[in-house]
Every structure is written in C-alpha cells, then in structure tokens.
Amino acid sequence: MSESFTLRVNGRTRVVKAERSVPLVYVLRNDLGLKGTRLGCGTGHCGACTVLYDGNAVQSCDTPLWAAQGHEITTIEGLGSAERPHPLQRAFLEEQAAQCGYCIDGIIVSAAALLTRKARPTRDEIAAALGRHLCRCGTHARILRAIERAAREMAR
C-alpha cells in the first residue's frame, strides 16, 4: 500500500508516494528524476546506485524508502552538475576517468564520502573504499588517479 514519505534529498524536502519497502533507487530515479543514480544489479553488489546517507556511502538499491525518511540523502546531482562540478567531477573529467561511465557516478559518491572522512587517503585506502564498486571497462587506474587528484585539489 502506498504511503507518503517526506525525504530530504540534495538539501531539499521532497514528498513521494510509494510503498514503504520500495528500494530508494527507484524513487530517486523515477519519482524525483535523479537519473545519475544508476540501477546496476539491484542486489547491492556493484555500487552503481551509491548515494550519501547522512554522509555515508550506501547502495540505494539496498535501502528501503522508509529507512531514508528523516535522513539526509545526497545523490550525484547534489554534489555538482556539468555547469558547477564538484572537485571530484572536475578531476574525473581532467583525467578522462571513464569509458562507458555507467559505474562512475556511484564511484564519485563513494569517493566524496571517503574524502570527507579522510582528506588525503593513500591509494590502498581509495581502492579499499571502492571495494563494493565494479567497473567492467577497466578504467580502474584512471579512477584511482582522479580521486587522488581531487583529494589534492580539495586539500589546497
């Protein structure tokens, strides 16, 4: 049965009507039009749907709608846009750190959570923070480099 839920998404209050157990990814994409959160596996294994949940990286396919209420949700769109990019988005463009790009938005969101926790992570720490992300195009080295670049620039 559908219920109304009041969410805080990207700093705005949004009201949606849906079943309480609906995975958040569908609400973000289809009700709120936030398409940068991608559906990859639906089982919490690939990281394409990662969002910030009170600043922590979580997989929105694994997060029911009810659990999002009362928490601050940030999607890739809340980090920055093509016109006003987040330092991570800028670094990914500078490194051209994408091939198909499908996995990248989720990775940027995870990296944002990491850089809030630790301003200058080592390469191993970055790789560990991406332990729940998959990239099939093999852009790994560029992705790691882009996160290091963003960390450098944000630490300035």
Binding site: G33, K35, C41, I76, P85, Q96, C100, C103, L144
Partner: protein, 697 residues
C-alpha cells in the same frame, strides 16, 4: 581514387548529405553509423569531421546510429570504427569542403588554392574576401554521390584537430545525471521485465495468469509460447511482478550437458575440421618439437548496466531507442520478426553501459518492441542482473593445440595450430534467420539460425591463429563445433584472445627450452619492422625487472591487419596471482585521439587481466549458474595493476583499429610472467590458485 579502394561505409552510403548537413546559424551536423559504446568514438569522429571540414569542434554536432538519419554502417564492432567509419567520414568531409572551396572561389573570383578554411569560413588570408559554409549552403547541393574528385588540401596543412587528446564529448553529462537510454522517460511510460526461462530449451507448460494480472500496478501480461513479460505502472512493481510470475509459472526444463574442463568439454562435441591456412611444405627440418594444449572457458560480457530499451508502438511504426551496436541491422531483424516492412521500424541509438561485443542490447530492444505492441504505451524494459549474466550470448570457449618444430640452429621451422571452438559471431542480421532471443521463445518460434564463423584473414575463432612470425611452415586447422550447448556470439577480440594467448605462451615455452631470451626469440622470427619496434618499445619502457616479481611478454598485430600491441606484465604470487604492473606499446598508425587510444588499451588490459585471472562461466544440469556478481567475480579496485601505454608514433600511416589489440597479448604476458616468477606453466584459463597448483603437479 577508384571505387573498390573506397572505405566500405562510403561505398554503400555514397550520398554526401548522408554524412554532412549545414544547418542555419553556423552549425554543421555530421552523421555516423558508428555509435558510442564507451570507447569514445563519437569524440574521435567529430575530430575527424571538424579537421576535414575546417570548422571549430563547437560548431559541429554529431548524430550517431539512427535509422532515420545516419548512414547504415552495419555494426560498431571489430575495431573497425576508425579504420572504416573514420576513413569514410574523412573522405566525405574532404569532398564537401572541396565543393564549397570551389563554389567560394567562383564567387570571389580567386583560385581555389588561395583559399583557406577556418572555423567554417572560406577566405583568402589577409583579405576580406570570404564566404562561410552557411552563406554558400543554398548554392552547393550535397544531394549528390561522393565522386572521389581531387580535394583541395588545407592551405595551412593539417589543422591539428586530429592527433590531439580532445576530451570526450559525452562525459560531462555522464558524470552527473541522465545520459543513457536507461534514463529516458516518455509520458505514459510503463516499466517492463521479462521472465526468462530457467534454462535453454525450457518450455512454459503452465501459468497462473490471473494471479499475475492481479499483482499491484500490472498493466499488461504478455505471453507468447515460452515468452513471458509483465508491464507495470512503476518500476518496482514490474520487479515485484516478476517474482509473482516466477511462482506462477511452471517449466519443463531439459538438462544441460555436464560442465567439465574446457578442453574435455569441447573435444566431446562433434567437430567439422578444416585447414584454414597453410604455408610452406609439410616436411620440416625440425630436430626438436614443442607441443602443448591451451584453453579458455566461456566468458560473459558482464556489463555493469543491464541491457535496456525504450519502445513506442504507434499506428504505423515502432520507434525504439537502444544501445545496439547496429541500429540498421536491428531494425531489419525486428521488422522481420514482427512481419513488418523495414520502414515501419525506427531505431535510434542511445548510449548504454559498456559494450564489449554482442550482448543483450538487441534482444532487449525486441523484448521492448513486443511489449509495447501489446500494451499500447511507451515501454521501458530492462533486463535483470541475472538475465544479463545468463541470457546474453557468451564468448565461445576455445581449446588450442600448438606443435612447433625447431631446427638445430634454434629457428622455428614448423608451426601447427589447431583450435576447437564454436562460432564467434552470431550477430542479428549478419546471416539468414533471426538472431533475437524472444523470437526463439515466442509462438510460433523461429528456429535458431545455424552458426557460420567469420572467415580469415580477419577470422572469428581463427582470428590471429596465423602467427605473425616468419615460420617457413605454418598450418592452421579449425575444428569448428557447430553445436552450441551455450548461447555464444562475439566477445571483444573473438578468437584472438585464446589464439594469441596460446601462440605467445608457446613462444616463451620455446625460448625457455632453448635458453634464449623471449624478446630475442621473437625478434629472430619477426621481419615486420613495425612489430619489431613495438616489441622493443615495450621492453624499453618496462625497464629493469623489480625483485620478487615475475615478468612476461605477449605480442600480436590484431587480426594481423590492425594495431600492433606488445604487453609486458609484472606479477607477484602470494595468496593469489596479482598483476602489479603492465606496460603496453601500441602502433595504431595515425592516432586520432591519443588519450582515447590509451584509455581503450588500458581498459583492454584490465578486462583481459580479469578474464585471465578470474573469469569462467559455470553451469549445472539445471542451467547457467550465474545469478549475480557473486557467481561471476571480475577484477576489483584492490587488484588493479598500474598501467603505462606507450604510443609508437606513425602519423604517416593509415589509422588502425586498436580497441581490442591488448586482449591476447595481456593474457600471454601474465601467463609468461607467472612462469618467470614461479616456474609454473599454466595453460588453461582462468589462472586461479587451484589451476596454478594443478599445473605444478
């Protein structure tokens, strides 16, 4: 330029207005049949067009893969986009520029050779004598065929748009919002999912359709034979309805053949052997024989984004947005499957998740078309993760046996390469019949077309089976396996991956047996100067070996026709085999976008490392045993090697396709590095600890 030398795409799409159109207000649109798959082709194609036309990149828009607008260039596949599509675009744009230069010369009463084209303006430098493309557009008709007339070269030589690392045009949108076919929406759109059978050949013998129709939000249940799909108002309702359908359906499932080791499995299938290559004489003067068998298992595409399509059925046409590799081919197949004329189907390419060959893109487009016709509303249909892993075609498994004869002087004088595999290409529209999954399941079912592989020189299963080395006697026998217990088709590099893995492993086995340096053995047998340069460049860039690592090399010229690639890999062996560092040297002729080339080669290396170390399709008697990522692990971020790609510059030589060149060399380099580090020769992929231990015995 005589007609047969024209690049294929231009030969079959000769009309200039198929390629270039000048719109009002200073914009030019160019049209390409080669589509963005994550490889950066749209950016490269725009560079080629802007360079040839003499316009700024910002003045140029590109439309790629659209049956209503763009040229039919078959598939975006086989590393042919720059070689064939790019060459066609370049010729078409150069002729368009020439027509406009001649028109401007006539109006301005100057010689065409005095005119320079910059930012879309054709003029005499240092004067105010000039005309823009757009001023002339009404007077120069492009409704004419490419003629091959002599072109006026750019007065100042090349503009420098080709050969620079232009940033990808598609990335800003992809790094922060809607960018893929998955992200499209249309008014009234519903979401759909397909309940695929539990296994190949399963029959849907009973279905409680009422319970499925009663599921929340369900607007349509589409059943035809063994095909079953549900459409719902909301996406999560379609996902939930799929689970209802799973419980409401009863299947009769024939058992799959038992999975055994790759070589044994393939050897147990009926084979049609043929000698596909022969050079020299049967008798050789060899005094020492090296012989070994190698294999690779079936491999999955395993794209991170499941296949997806949007379809709208209107009164007189079906419109489909798809991440297909071949929009025109898909249109023809869908029209045929639905009994419609080609003109009643329109396919517009939209970007999808990474494409590494014939995946589920075409199948899901047909699924969406079928459901859209049944429910009368726009349908967004996405495959599940499990369907993506279980139902998309796999890359064919292969066994390769090599017997090499070496003479007393340490020269390889005889080489016999035998391979066992299925076809490596079953793309929709390539042969007769219909290659669309749902069409085989619907009532009445259409038969699965028989397999026919691509012939040499490009080859399919036998791609790169002919060594590039100068062995006086060479023989290749392809034991073609027409029966396909698993659904197979094209996966990046086709047979080149296993063939190069085997050839380059054997080269190291021989080098080891003779006590010769592996690089030296290769150079001793390689006359091709470009190949020699690439091998030496990789070895030079790799520098001295680090202590505690094993190092190996692998080399090939992709298809023996496209880019040259030499790979050096450094591995460590602790709890598992870990690839630490990879150096590649590549000669791709004139490089349109160096960073784009590097990105493709880096990705090819990581993907091949993942295939080599970890990947294998598993099945049981009940069906393909891939239900999620836990059943098909791929290389993770904590396993990623450092990579360095050296481009061997050949700006004077034609551009060569490079997107697949690193696959085989990478596999061989890793296996050879394992041998160097541990003294273990592992010949059967993937190189898991279990197999490495088995190879030690």
């Amino acid at each position: 330029m005589s007609a047969p030398e024209l690049p294929l795409s231009l030969r079959t799409n000769p009309r200039l207005d198929r390629w270039v159109r000048f719109d009002g207000d200073g914009k030019v649109a160019v049209f390409s049949g080669k589509v963005e798959l994550g490889q950066g082709i749209v950016t490269a194609m725009a560079q080629i067009a802007a360079e040839e036309l003499g316009v700024e990149p910002a003045q140029l828009a590109i439309v790629a893969g659209d049956t209503t607008a763009a040229p039919d260039e078959w598939y975006t596949a086989g590393s042919q986009s720059i070689e064939v599509g790019g060459a066609s675009m370049r010729r078409a744009c150069a002729e368009v520029r020439t027509l406009f230069v001649e028109a401007a010369a006539a109006e301005l009463e100057v010689a065409p050779g005095d005119l320079e084209v910059r930012a879309g303006v054709i003029g005499v430098p240092g004067t105010d004598l000039k005309r823009s493309y757009w001023e002339l557009a009404r007077k120069v008709s492009l409704a004419r065929d490419y003629s091959g007339r002599p072109v006026w070269p750019h007065k100042a030589g090349r503009l420098g748009l080709v050969g620079t690392s232009a940033p990808r045009r598609d990335l800003p949108a992809k790094l922060g919002g809607a960018a893929y076919v998955h992200d499209m929406t249309l008014p009234g759109m519903v979401h759909a999912r397909v309940l695929r059978p539990p296994a190949y050949g399963a029959r849907l013998v009973a279905l409680d359709e009422a319970v499925l129709r009663a599921a929340p939000g369900v607007v349509a249940v589409v059943r035809s034979g063994d095909f079953l799909a549900v459409a719902a108002e909301r996406e999560e309702q379609a996902v939930a309805a799929l689970e209802v359908a799973r419980r409401a359906a009863r299947w009769e499932t024939p058992p799959m053949p038992e999975q055994t080791e790759t070589v044994r499995f393939l050897m147990g299938l009926p084979a049609r052997p043929s000698k596909v290559f022969f050079k020299g004489t049967a008798a050789t003067s060899g005094t020492r024989r090296f012989e070994a068998m190698y294999s690779r298992p079936y491999l999955a595409h395993a794209s991170v984004g499941p296949s997806c399509a949007l379809a709208v059925a209107e009164a007189d046409r079906i419109r489909i947005w798809s991440h297909t590799q071949g929009p025109h081919m898909l249109r023809g197949q869908i029209a045929k499957a639905l009994g419609l004329p080609d003109t009643a189907v329109e396919v517009m390419h939209r970007d999808g998740a990474g494409c590494y060959g014939h995946n589920g893109a075409d199948d899901v487009a047909f699924d969406a078309a079928v459901v859209a016709r049944a429910c009368g509303r726009p349908v967004m249909l996405q495959w599940t993760r499990a369907d993506e892993l279980r139902w998309a075609p796999f890359g064919s498994a292969m066994a390769v046996k090599i017997a090499a004869d070496v003479d007393s002087g340490g020269r390889i004088v005889g080489w016999k390469h035998e391979l066992w595999s299925h076809t490596h290409v079953k793309r929709p529209g390539r042969g007769e019949g219909i290659e669309l999954l749902a069409a085989w399941h619907m009532d009445p079912p259409v038969p699965v077309p028989p397999a026919a592989d691509l012939p040499l020189p490009a080859g399919g299963g036998d791609r790169n089976a002919v060594p590039i080395y100068d062995f006086p006697h060479q023989e290749v026998v392809y034991h073609f396996l027409p029966e396909m217990p698993l659904r197979v088709s094209a996966l990046r590099s086709l047979g080149a991956f296993a063939n190069v893995f085997a050839i380059e492993s054997m080269m190291d086995e021989i080098a080891g047996g003779l006590g010769v340096d592996p690089l030296e053995l290769r150079l001793r047998h390689l006359a091709d100067e470009r190949g020699r340069d690439v091998l030496r460049a990789a070895a030079r860039a790799a520098g001295a070996k680090r202590p505690g690592t094993g190092r190996g090399m692998g080399f090939a010229r992709y298809k023996n026709l496209s880019a040259y690639c030499a790979v050096m890999a450094e591995v460590e062996i602790a709890q598992k085999l870990r690839v630490r560092r990879v150096i590649a040297a590549v000669d791709a002729g004139l490089v349109v976008n160096p960073d784009g080339l590097r990105n493709q080669v880096e990705g090819g290396i990581v993907q091949a490392a993942s295939w080599t170390l970890k990947e294998q399709v598993r099945w049981t008697r009940e069906g393909i045993a891939l239900h999620g990522w836990e059943d098909y692990p791929i290389l993770g971020f904590d396993e990623a090697p450092d990579i360095e790609v050296v481009i061997v510059e050949r700006p004077e030589a034609p551009s060569l396709g490079a997107g697949e060149c690193a696959a085989g060399p990478t596999a061989a380099a890793i296996a050879n590095a394992l041998y160097d580090g541990l003294g273990v020769r592992a010949r059967h992929l993937p190189l898991t600890l279990e197999r490495i231990a088995a190879a030690m015995d």
